[in-house]
Symmetry: C3
Subunit: 281 residues, 3 copies
């Protein structure tokens, strides 16, 4: 007695008169990972090879008020083979309108304007984390965002948790290229972001400078797509780690939201690799 939900396109015709709606979507990755000396084995064993398994099920609910404001909810339940439980991978609620968008719950820290992608495509190889190392601060629970044309400004804060942590960010995004600037006051970290697309090539870069820690971090990512194949490369370094991190990855689009994905990287002078499949539903 299973109940099948229709895909979006088939349902829109019916949903016209309904102010409130709920949607469900999800994704999963699985495959094999390799970590030299088991340094990053997610099971905590010293096995160099391990199974990778992550799933995400997302529920969204929205309604519109009479004056045209949109109220929305989003929550993602994640499962990992490594813990056997169900995890809150982010739950938030928002109200949006001409004034912008106000979000509570698990929100984006505003200084994280445009991070770098991971090149592995499964649980991640972590080169991007080296570039994003000075991002870290207290997690925020309130975010305000306003967009006008190509400009987006964002501010976020931790409200009531007994810590003083705030962030701001601004982004100019033409669709073809973007530049951005973010500032987190708890680490006094300023980050600049830039990226663009041309002839099948995507490039993304970021550079952070933390005044509190007197440390810097930076990274650059590029991918190239030809037909179903996307090739990726990434390089990142910071003043905390001994060795720069770098790696390459690839994904092959199988259609229907499924892809073969994988990559290999050197992080903390340890070789890490992963290979498998990802899909959406």
């Amino acid at each position: 007695m299973k109940k099948i939900l229709l895909a979006t396109t088939a349902l829109v015709g019916f949903a016209g008169a309904a102010a409130a709606e709920v949607s469900i979507s999800g994704s999963a990755v699985f495959g094999i990972g390799f970590s030299e000396n088991g340094a990053a084995n997610p099971f905590g064993s010293t096995d160099e090879a391990y199974a990778i398994f992550e799933t995400y099920l997302t529920f969204k609910g929205t309604t519109q008020s009479d004056n045209g404001l949109e109220f929305g909810y989003s929550s993602t339940i994640a499962a990992y083979d490594t813990d056997g439980g169900l995890n809150d991978d982010g739950t938030s609620a928002y109200v949006s309108g001409a004034f912008g968008k106000l979000t509570f719950g698990s929100v984006n820290e505003a200084s994280k304007v445009a991070g770098l992608p991971d090149i592995g495509g499964l649980s991640g190889l972590g080169v991007d984390n080296v570039a994003e190392a000075l991002w870290a601060g207290a997690s925020h629970n309130v975010n305000y965002k306003y967009s006008a044309g190509a400009f987006t400004v964002e501010a976020s804060s931790s409200v009531g948790k007994g810590v003083d942590s705030n962030g701001v960010g601004v982004k100019y995004d033409t669709g073809t290229y973007y530049v951005g600037l973010g500032y987190a006051d708890d680490t006094e970290a300023t980050t600049v972001y830039a990226g663009g697309s041309f002839s099948g090539v995507n490039v993304k870069a970021m550079y952070s400078d933390s005044n509190t820690a007197n440390q810097k971090a930076w990274g650059i990512y590029a991918d190239y797509t030809t037909g179903a194949l996307t090739l990726k490369a990434e390089y990142a370094d910071n003043d905390i780690v001994t060795d720069a991190a770098f790696g390459i990855g690839a994904s092959y689009d199988l259609g229907g939201g499924a892809a073969l994905v994988g990559g290999i990287a050197s992080v903390d002078d340890n070789t890490r690799a992963e290979m498998g499949v990802s899909f959406e539903f």
Copy 2:
């Protein structure tokens, strides 16, 4: 690839032949809370102001047997910004028919016939809890309810948990007014309830007397609705707290299941306030 669920009205036509069905609905509140000296800060910090965020996602499943019994399931997943996890906010299953309704799991304690509403509308200001203080006993896992016309009788129990805890309740509800009586045997607490509606005004009151604790608790609530605006007031006291609790609240219906909500109260001689939005989907 999100899947959108249709609203109820659009679907009923199709569901006619299907005995079993599943439904999803939800609600969320978010806003700002204030607690004098941080006495009720949900993050455990001493900050007087804090972000409020609560979401509820409810799944219901029902089926009908050939002889006309209805079997049902209900479960609510809640997320709060204060713990970062997913919580079971009540899961139960029932069978109902001409004999009444038998529910297992997270059930209502039968003596809780008609509690008082909260006046804040977000995570709650807690005036109602002062009136309901003598309700508390062991939580029950089996409930039986039978309705005939305006009368409802209910009995509940904790079965197998190693405690002896039972409750009964009776309610007479004409739709315009109600009176009720509940008894919990573990605290030997008797509670009387009454309420009614007239000319846009709702009034609800309750009075408890626990023989075991030799304590009393009581409270009264009233609201008045004019157009989209509802104004609320509540007063409660008991023999446990030093100071009576009282407060006022308001909600403004925005349409589509969304509302502006808020209130201010004195609980344990501490000022508490909250203001924000609530919505359903």
Copy 3:
């Protein structure tokens, strides 16, 4: 504002063009259990009688790649009255095609070819567990299965958890009868399985021999269905327990996926019984 999902049959017509789909289904059992001296009271109290309550909500998501592979996700959220939380009752993801089916996550151990059913029908009386006692080994996270006609072969392993645990299984199933063989290398346990159906009677049997433990375990189950009524009997023994386990059960189909269920058994020389209802939606 609840959203009702249609039953499968009503939706298939619309879903034709959509590669990805999500379905929701569930089941619940509730009733009363009895355990002599409280030996198996799930609340940990010494009460001999206790409430039984278990619910299962299953989400499935699938998509098809352009080359005809099927990618799928399945996750079940379980609630039990005994712990008050939401539990991961099994989350997995797979890819299947002409090559067979590869599953990651919470997978079947391949040596568990065809276990025995429980006779109680609610939370279970446990006679089957006595027959399956030598099954146990490390839980696996990767499973590969291939079917050709009546033959199915399966292999599974624990990959990356720091243990060496693998299993294989083979089954020949005509639909009317089956035979099977499984081997788990961590316990060096070989298990043979056989069963069949004739004239309303189902019989299932299994026999395990663990070389590592130098122990044996075995069990036999039979049921007989006449109209809405199914009668069940089971007997199991092993070299670990002092006393053989045995019991009888019955279920009465109410239609619409609902049934009256119950049984009584002797396990470890303790009488256990349960009676209640089960339903699907």
